[in-house]
């Protein structure tokens, strides 16, 4: 969700990484929406060549997607195709969390894989040849780069879906009228079943994305097809034939294939981590181990990041997964069953076997509630916390006195707290006038999650921006100290350096923790 401060944070990130000119172009696309080159030039008032270069940088780093669209023209004129550019808000924000992506690869794979990923994150997109060349130029003396080992590390990354083929640079979107006609012909009833029409941006992303079979497919120079798609056996012969035909051109085509970090997979991993952490705190270690085993076993089968329920698994598979982990080895089958009950998994019978699935959407919602309630407690106090939780759980309008009675807060204090929460956009308020023997007015209150979540997310973006700006400010203030050689950082100067070190640790770790909360509301 690109809120006011979301846009400011995104522009700040681009400015820190690529400078003010690129940031200005990015700002224009984020605020004005999808534009042609001519429009960007007009709005930014920058020279055309500079705008082009800035857009290319943003495309290179997966922050902008181009697409071609047929423009409506006057009668008698030939249709014109124009190129438009859209900013990719989520990808821009991912730049804040590259360190987390690297940590995932370091934990799950190895150092070589981490270095390859680092290169892809630094450069946005690279061919395999460029990846190998980069590794060669980074090598230390006496440590020759082994090409085969590097290719193997690269393949590991692709197999794990951490790296993917880049999308098409400028897909053509067919005019919408041709696509809408079949839906109209189907009639009123079936039209209701048709999903909400996609925006042009959603259509562009879908059109640019490589086909599932190709997305994680690597063809290396030996002609061996390393394919991660599900129907590899059936298609292998056909692919071999295709390879023969394309023998001359195929190798050079594959050499030009650009690869990039697959943000979707990293977000999925972080979502799983967040669910496991929440379950560990809210329930216990056993439940966290069982959930972790289930998610690890089914990660590659999840169709989308925001999947509501985990992929169903049989008890045997779950138990097998639990046994694989060191912490789970001591768990009995009975304990695993108990944990599944705690997780709210009701067994579902598919065929002859029972299978279990966890409601991930519910876990995410509970984590979101915890975060907002924590803000309420810290900002407004314990009485307000109780009142907010009552309204949040009720999901309906409640009258002031009823709130006071249930939460054991004095009536006048209740009214004050409710008014403050309403003023800060945490609550909605409605007035009810009753005309009886005497006219009375009642105030009713409610938490509306959609509105509140958007408001909280905007405040989080604002806070993240503030943390980043403060880090930059502190570094600027102590510029001289940073540039001093170590031996001169003694006495008062040494103290200042030490303070700066602690300040950076506190601010940057707070930013990373806050980013977890941003992902909870924005990405999970």
């Amino acid at each position: 969700m690109a809120t006011q401060y979301g846009v400011q944070l995104a522009v700040h990130l681009i400015s820190s990484h690529f400078g003010n000119l690129v940031a200005k172009v990015c700002d224009c696309l984020l605020r004005k929406g999808t534009l042609t080159l001519a429009s960007v030039i007009r709005f930014t008032e920058l020279p055309p060549q500079q705008v082009k270069s800035c857009i290319l940088v943003l495309i290179q780093h997966n922050c902008v997607q181009a697409f071609a669209i047929q423009q409506e023209v006057g009668f008698g004129e030939a249709p014109r195709v124009v190129t438009q550019y859209m900013a990719l808000f989520h990808n821009i924000l991912h730049r804040m969390r590259f360190a987390k992506f690297l940590a995932i690869v370091s934990e799950e794979l190895d150092k070589e894989c981490e270095e390859i990923l680092e290169g892809l994150l630094q450069h946005g997109r690279l061919t395999l040849e460029q990846i190998l060349d980069r590794a060669k130029s980074n090598q230390s003396e006496g440590e020759p780069v082994v090409q085969d080992a590097l290719r193997e590390s690269f393949l590991k990354l692709v197999r794990a879906h951490f790296v993917e083929r880049c999308p098409a640079s400028e897909p053509f979107l067919a005019p919408p009228s041709e696509e809408e006609t079949p839906a109209r012909k189907r009639g009123a009833k079936s039209a209701k079943l048709v999903e909400e029409p996609q925006t042009i941006e959603q259509r562009a992303i879908a059109a640019a994305a490589p086909m599932d079979a190709k997305r994680f497919s690597v063809i290396i120079n030996t002609g061996t097809d390393v394919d991660d798609s599900p129907n590899v056996t059936a298609g292998e012969k056909r692919k071999q034939d295709a390879l023969e035909l394309d023998k001359e051109t195929g190798a050079s085509c594959e050499k030009d294939v650009l690869w990039r970090a697959n943000f979707e997979e990293f977000v999925r991993c972080l979502r799983h981590k967040a669910c496991i952490a929440n379950v560990k705190t809210r329930l216990d270690d056993g439940a966290a181990i069982v959930l972790s085993a289930m998610l690890e076993a089914t990660r590659s089968e999840e169709k989308k990041v925001k999947t509501e329920n985990s992929v169903p698994l049989s008890m045997d598979t779950i138990f097998e997964g639990v046994m694989k982990s060191e912490a789970g080895r001591s768990m009995t089958l009975e304990r695993v069953r108990g944990s599944l009950i705690q997780l709210g998994c009701a067994p579902c019978v598919r065929g002859a076997a029972e299978s279990y699935s966890v409601d991930l959407k519910n876990i995410i919602e509970l984590a979101q509630n915890d975060e907002v309630e924590s803000i309420t407690l810290k900002r407004y106090g314990r009485d307000a916390y109780r009142i907010f939780r009552l309204l949040s759980k009720s999901c309906r309008l409640l009258e002031t006195d009823k709130i006071s009675d249930t939460t054991f807060v004095e009536k006048k204090d209740t009214a004050k707290i409710l008014y403050q929460l309403w003023k800060d956009e945490y609550l909605q308020m409605e007035k009810l006038n009753l005309h009886g023997s005497r006219q009375s007015q009642f105030l009713l209150w409610k938490v509306t999650k959609d509105t509140l979540w958007g408001h909280v997310l905007n405040e989080m973006y604002h806070s993240a921006l503030n943390l980043s700006l403060r880090v930059a400010y502190e570094l600027e203030q102590e510029q001289e100290i940073i540039q001093l050689p170590r031996e001169k950082r003694v006495g008062a100067l040494g103290n200042r350096f030490e303070r700066l070190r602690k300040v950076r640790i506190l601010l940057e770790s707070s930013l990373m923790k806050l980013d977890d909360a941003i992902m909870l509301f924005n990405d999970f």
């Binding site: 329930l283 915890d370 924590s374 900002r379 054991f408 503030n466 943390l467």
Partner: protein, 276 residues
């Protein structure tokens, strides 16, 4: 618990015989010391010395009589001064003077109406204010009895920590049996306290599965257990990401801008937070 209403049966020069004439259900909060030291026995005659100021026999002026009868007729609901003036059509100064006299004669008392604390509300001395006036079991003298509520909350958490999982009835029984509280509490009162503890995130509400730790509780029954964060170990909710930084709790966040008067560079809360 019953309301006692005393009436004069006979009198002689030195003695009065008082007989319990009527009883009415009392709604309200009783503490261990009961209501004004009066005996709670029913249907017994008591002999007591005639007090020096024989209030019942003191003659009342006409205005006083009218007001006293009106106030008595409102029983445990009492009546606001403005309503008295409207119903009796007596002038303001007469009402004020009469009410003072009736209070001196200990026939009426002023009570707090929780719905409108600023209004003067009067009641005959023999009645106890109704729940509508007092606010119920949790109010004393028009204010929430926070101390009592706090004690009950702590007691419930302590009991639940021992029982691991229990219904409201189970907790109420345990508290009343072991005499952990000076006054006996109804299951309804305990349920209200438990609901507040759920809102405090000290305990959580669960449904009985009928097996394991729920084996003594019918399937589907609402019961409670301590949260991981709550219980005797103390805690309550964990601190979230936003609550851990100055911006998350800042009262000026809406006025803060990157280059404004209030900004992250000039922020006093940040300066304090980073003061190592």
């Amino acid at each position: 618990m019953h309301l006692m209403r005393w009436s004069n049966v006979c009198k002689d020069e030195n003695m009065e015989v008082w007989k319990l004439e009527d009883t009415r259900p009392l709604i309200g909060h009783y503490k261990a010391n009961g209501c004004g030291g009066m005996s709670r026995s029913q249907g017994s005659s008591l002999k007591r010395k005639r007090p020096d100021t024989n209030t019942a026999s003191q003659p009342l002026l006409d205005a006083e009589r009218v007001l006293y009868d009106l106030i008595r007729s409102k029983e445990d609901m009492g009546i606001w001064t403005r309503d008295m003036k409207r119903e009796t059509n007596l002038p303001d100064n007469v009402v004020t003077k009469s009410l003072k006299a009736l209070q001196v004669k200990k026939l009426i008392k002023e009570v707090v109406n929780i719905q409108s604390k600023g209004r003067k509300h009067y009641m005959a001395v023999e009645f106890e204010p109704s729940k509508e006036l007092t606010g119920g079991a949790w109010y004393v003298e028009g204010n929430l009895d926070t101390e009592y509520i706090k004690i009950l909350k702590k007691t419930c958490v302590r009991v639940l920590s021992k029982l691991k999982v229990a219904t409201a009835e189970g907790i109420s029984e345990s508290i009343n049996k072991t005499g952990l509280c000076a006054t006996e509490c109804s299951t309804q009162q305990i349920a209200e306290i438990l609901r507040a503890l759920v809102l405090d995130n000290e305990i959580m509400e669960v449904r009985s599965s009928g097996s394991g730790e729920f084996s003594s509780i019918p399937i589907g029954a609402v019961c409670y257990r301590c949260t991981n964060k709550g219980g005797l170990g103390g805690g309550g909710p964990t601190i979230g990401a936003m609550a851990s930084i100055p911006c998350g709790v800042c009262p000026r966040i809406t006025q803060c801008t990157p280059d404004g008067i209030i900004s992250p560079k000039t922020c006093a809360y940040y300066t304090k937070w980073l003061d190592f």
